[in-house]
């Protein structure tokens, strides 16, 4: 039996398409899972912390821990002035984390494995950085591209490199998350395909199938780590980029 590892990333309509003003509006599985994510995050953050117990229960502990965790990250990498962006960074972190974690459940859909979603998130961050940087610092924001203490002779080359690396930020920011999720899920699917292939080969194959099955379990554990790590990386890079907008001098 052949398993197609790409099939899990296909977007399909949940309800028939509606034609609205020349655009096709469809409720896809991607949209469904994004709604599940938003509902899940809201349930955790609003529902679990509604009792406001002095001694928190389990769910309230999770909510408080994640709040403290992101707040510390923002404070340490973007300064106290960066705390005004805390709601934004926290929203991004929780959305990406829940998207990654929900995507690990078999037969579910990983929203962050779509480049269009991660690109939209990364472009939002990029535009906020550029917009806020110019709004707060004016043209001093361009000091970001002129590092101090560089010899005059190589300064033009350094400026070009700085501009290029600044412009390629949204690309790497979005593709990192997308590629990690895509590659992880394809690897899982390929090893799961080995299990099915071996198990279909008769009684001897059943014993052989134990090996790739153990591999799938181990890879799922690794993917759990990657899911958390990539959400953290996404959040901390957002903080560092925002820090550039707040303090543009190197």
């Amino acid at each position: 039996m052949q398993v197609d590892p790409i099939h899990q990333f296909q977007i399909h309509d949940m309800v028939p398409m509606i034609n609205m003003g020349g655009h096709q509006i469809a409720f896809t599985n991607s949209a469904l899972f994004m709604m599940i994510i938003v509902f899940g995050v809201s349930a955790l953050m609003i529902g679990a912390s509604a009792p406001r117990a002095v001694v928190p229960g389990r769910l309230q502990s999770i909510a408080e821990l994640s709040y403290e965790f992101v707040a510390n990250t923002v404070r340490s990498s973007a300064g106290t002035e960066g705390m005004k962006f805390f709601p934004f960074v926290f929203t991004l972190f929780m959305f990406v984390l829940f998207a990654n974690l929900i995507g690990l459940i078999p037969y579910s859909f990983t929203v962050t494995s779509q480049i269009i979603i991660t690109a939209a998130l990364a472009l939002t961050v990029f535009l906020i950085v550029v917009g806020y940087g110019f709004w707060r610092n004016g043209l001093h924001f361009l000091n970001l591209f002129v590092p101090k203490g560089v010899p005059k002779a190589i300064l033009p080359a350094v400026v070009i490199i700085e501009v290029l690396s600044f412009v390629s930020r949204p690309v790497s920011h979005s593709v990192r998350l997308f590629a990690n999720m895509l590659a992880g899920h394809i690897t899982l699917q390929v090893f799961a395909g080995f299990v099915i292939m071996l198990a279909g080969a008769g009684i001897l194959g059943w014993f052989g199938a134990v090996l790739p099955f153990a591999m799938v379990v181990a890879l799922t554990a690794l993917e759990l780590l990657v899911a958390f790590l990539q959400a953290y990386v996404f959040a901390i890079l957002t903080c560092i980029y925002l820090n550039d907008a707040i303090h543009p001098g190197h």
């Binding site: 990498s77 390629s168 790497s172 990192r176 590629a179 790590l229 990386v233 890079l237």
Partner: protein, 75 residues
């Protein structure tokens, strides 16, 4: 050469660049670990820098993966 074959070969060659990123990420985590074992009390404060360095290094590997993906599906 058949253009489709050239495309696949190019995608394969583009992925070699990820090896360099792998070396870089290994150096970053190795250096962090050796430094953290020398001075464990300072390790916690450098965790953010570790992740930042990791992300920046990994970005270069991701660019080569991007070229491979573009060759396979985009162009």
């Amino acid at each position: 050469m058949d253009p489709t074959a050239a495309k696949y070969i190019g995608a394969g060659i583009a992925c070699i660049g990820m090896g360099g990123a792998g070396v870089g990420v290994g150096i970053i985590f190795g250096s962090y670990l050796s430094a953290a074992l020398r001075n464990p009390s300072a390790a916690q404060g450098q965790f953010g820098n570790l992740i930042f360095g990791f992300a920046i290094t990994e970005a270069l590997g991701i660019f080569s993966l991007l070229i491979a993906l573009l060759l396979l599906f985009g162009l």
